[in-house]
Amino acid sequence: MADIRNNFVGIKSPNPFWLASAPPTDKAYNVERAFKAGWGGVVWKTLGEEGPPVVNVNGPRYGAIWGADRRLLGLNNIELITDRDLYTNLREMKEVKKNWPDRAIVASIMVPCEEQAWKAILPLVEETEVDGIELNFGCPHGMSERGMGSAVGQVPEYIEMVVRWCKQYTRMPVITKLTPNITDIRHPARAAKRGGTDAVSLINTISSIVSVDLDTFSPNPSVGGKGSHGGYCGPAVKPIALNMVAEIARDPETYGLPISGIGGITTWRDAAEFLALGAGNVQVCTAAMTYGFKIVQEMITGLSDWMDEKGHRSLDDVICRAVPNVTDWQYLNLNYIAKAHIDQDACIKCGRCHIACEDTSHQAITSMVDGVRHFEVMEEECVGCNLCVNVCPVENCITMEALPAGDLDKRTGKVVDPTYANWTQHPNNPMARQAAE
């Protein structure tokens, strides 16, 4: 049996599946239900400073986009940090931690960007005996208008400064949550590291307008006919999150910095991909908000069964395994040549590969052969772009087959070269020509 116990910056949990700081972790009732369902840990919904709590809108807070059969693909929200009294939250956190000592509880915090504000709240959180803190530098809506959330996360100097205060005023591990609403994620990550953070977590939500009501011309979610941008999350953001996690994992300046992966994780498979790209554990929100807490059972068994099948004994066997394979475009092997291949037994003859290739790509797939509906790759035209694979409704019907070295590439008329050669060495690259001269 694979060991999926997790140790993230010293915070232990029975599995690497945490619930992210969000509506599902706003109070003891929800968190206890989550723990009963099997979640390894939670990041409690973000606490604000002492005093009258924030207020939320009283109309809709969420908007969504859907795929086939109304499967929720992307969710956006305009909810703020917890709108409950600080002490109520602290009391419940303490109580739940006492009841569930084997589970991780991390406090998410967002207070104004002033030293005194952080100095004031940290001892209160520490007193609850939860396992660590997460600095919410991510929320792109509402709080950012008040100089918090992503307004901090978009300024590396502020990140560094606040992290430094936190490391100064608490013994608890500090996880810095990053906003994706920034050009290059490496800069805030580096700043967090310079400030002494124990880890980063990402991504927070992406600024978004999810849809427009075409009767009222109001953005959704519509609050009395007006809408403001929200934070986008769910399966649709996973590719963006994976890239950002990988960028930090392979950046020489942040290499080795623990990462808690967040962004559209819905199944064990998503989680495994985040781990492989450098995440030490994962946080989930939208999937739980869509299907309820029970999904963690699928995640736990799926990850564990896959690890058993592949012979991975612990999470350390998986974490970062894909990172060395992430590279820059310029280092990709230009001598690697692949061609699409259609499995005629699996083909259902929908013709989508043909029309995608014919209308929008390289005219490399037949539609008719000898007067019969037939879809076949013409190797002399195929550039191996993979579009047909992606539009085919049948999994594994179209596959990309690498041409072995020595074979003829019918498109170029050249024999496949076994050596590795990338753009930096290519004669068409002006930089390479310069170097040769």
């Binding site: 259902i348 003859k349 929908c350 013709g351 509906r373």
Partner: protein, 461 residues
């Protein structure tokens, strides 16, 4: 077998069921999809390139497009896509044997043995547009030409509508009391409830320029030469008015009836409880008419309904879906049985049916033969559903082949200015949707011919 209780009354009796049972039995076979169902189902369409479903549709409806329009919340646009090709798309959505046409061609069959439910989606869109009274077509400027259409069935209605679009005036001559043809008289009641056929006629003729004259029969009230003399063109779409006979002893006994008459009576009866039905019914034939008659016999309360077909299951014209529908309704389908004679019995009202003697059949050297072995099936009512034939007079020198009108690819007959389509032509497929396609295409051919004739003659160098 020991009888439990009194059992159903023998003979041909009305009122075998309670009114609730009649209502349930003759309700809509497949109620319309609701919006959610339509969205879920339309999501399944792959929007195939050069879609096989579209190729399989005799009217070539752009099925992937109309399904995508439903999926994006535009059922009205979807209905127009359907009506562009098939103005009787509403009825076709109900009666097309989709399992042997578009849905058979659906690539989802290959993928998972479950096609997209194209017929139900088509009904969803067309019902919405028709209930909103949305008319998508207007007439071009009047041409001053008038075309006679014989028969107000699917072929005639499709031709009339298309001709009206071109600005022609149309006079439809219909022998029966109501327009609609087999849509009105020949479709099982549960497939087109709530007077759908009549409502569809109103929808089609709402374009204007179409006058339907009922009670006008070819050969009785007018002849083809009358029409060619009076009108600018003629379209013949009178279907198959005759029925095949058995040619066996006892055929004239009380209780031996044509299935088409039974089906027509059912369709026209508002109150099904007044319709008499036998306790034991035998239906002879293997097509859709046999199935429709058998199922509806059962639904009227017959205790035992048996279809006898002289060939095997694979030879039946009724689709496997229809056969399954029959057996699911408790109909027994027996193959390789040919009628030999009908057995009568004297009663207070004269001789009536008591049973049918059948002979077992087999294929020998590619020929159907009787094996000599016989049996008797008790029956107090027998429906003949062994095919319809062309029966019309007053057609003059019109050329026929195998009892049907000869036409070319555009629907032109051997007589200039006369077109034909639907079941009465040689290539007629006994399908509403094919009749619609033929009517529509003949109308295009007529419009083209009239336009060419209207051009002022130009000198040819």
């Amino acid at each position: 077998m020991e009888r439990l209780g009194n059992g159903p009354q023998a003979g041909i009796e009305a009122g075998r069921l309670s009114s609730a049972e009649y209502e349930a039995n003759f309700a809509d076979l497949h109620p319309r999809l609701d919006r959610h169902e339509a969205l879920v189902e339309s999501d399944r369409c792959y929007f195939c390139y050069d879609a096989p479903c579209m190729t399989a549709c005799p009217t070539s409806i752009d099925i992937p497009l109309f399904i995508r329009q439903i999926q994006t919340g535009n059922p009205i646009g979807s209905a127009k896509t359907i009506f562009d090709q098939n103005i009787l798309g509403g009825m076709c959505a109900r009666v097309c044997p989709t399992e042997t046409l578009c849905e058979q061609a659906c690539v989802r069959n290959t993928a998972e043995d479950k096609p997209v439910e194209i017929g139900k989606l088509q009904r969803y869109a067309t019902d919405i547009a028709m209930e909103q009274g949305r008319q998508f077509y207007s007439r071009k400027a009047p041409t001053g030409k008038t075309i006679a259409v014989v028969g107000a069935g699917p072929a005639g209605l499709a031709a009339a509508h298309r001709l009206a679009m071109h600005g022609h005036s149309v006079v439809v001559l219909e022998a029966r009391e109501k327009a609609g043809g087999l849509n009105e008289y020949g479709i099982a009641t549960y497939k087109a409830v709530d007077d759908f056929a009549a409502r569809e006629v109103d929808y089609v003729t709402a374009i204007g320029g179409i006058e339907i004259r009922n009670g006008q029969a070819l050969g009785r009230d007018f002849s083809l030469s009358d029409l060619t003399a009076q009108y600018d063109a003629v379209f013949l779409g009178m279907g198959l008015a005759g029925v095949n006979g058995l040619g066996i002893e006892g055929e004239s006994l009380t209780g031996v009836e044509d299935a088409v008459d039974f089906i027509a009576a059912l369709r026209q009866a508002k109150d099904k409880s007044v319709l008499p039905i036998g306790r034991r019914v035998v239906v002879l034939g293997g097509g859709m008419t046999a199935i429709d008659a058998a199922i509806q016999s059962k639904l009227l309360g017959a205790e035992e309904v048996t279809i006898c077909y002289r060939r095997g299951k694979d030879n039946m014209n009724a689709s496997p879906y229809e056969q399954d529908l029959a057996t699911a309704n408790g109909v027994i389908i027996r193959h390789w049985l040919a009628p030999k004679s009908i057995i009568g019995k004297d009663g207070p009202n004269g001789a009536h049916v008591a049973g049918i003697e059948v002979e077992y059949t087999a294929m020998r050297d590619g020929k159907l033969i009787g094996t000599g072995e016989t049996g008797v099936i008790a029956a107090d009512q027998i429906f003949k559903a062994i095919g319809q034939t062309f029966s019309a007079s007053g057609l003059g020198a019109l050329q026929f082949e195998k009892g049907k009108i000869v036409v070319d690819a555009e629907g032109r007959t051997s007589i200039e200015g006369v077109w034909a389509g639907g079941d009465c032509i040689g290539s007629g497929e006994d399908l509403t949707v094919s009749a619609v396609a033929q009517g529509r295409d003949a109308a295009e051919s007529i419009a083209k011919a009239l336009a060419a004739a209207a051009q002022p003659a130009t000198a040819v160098a």
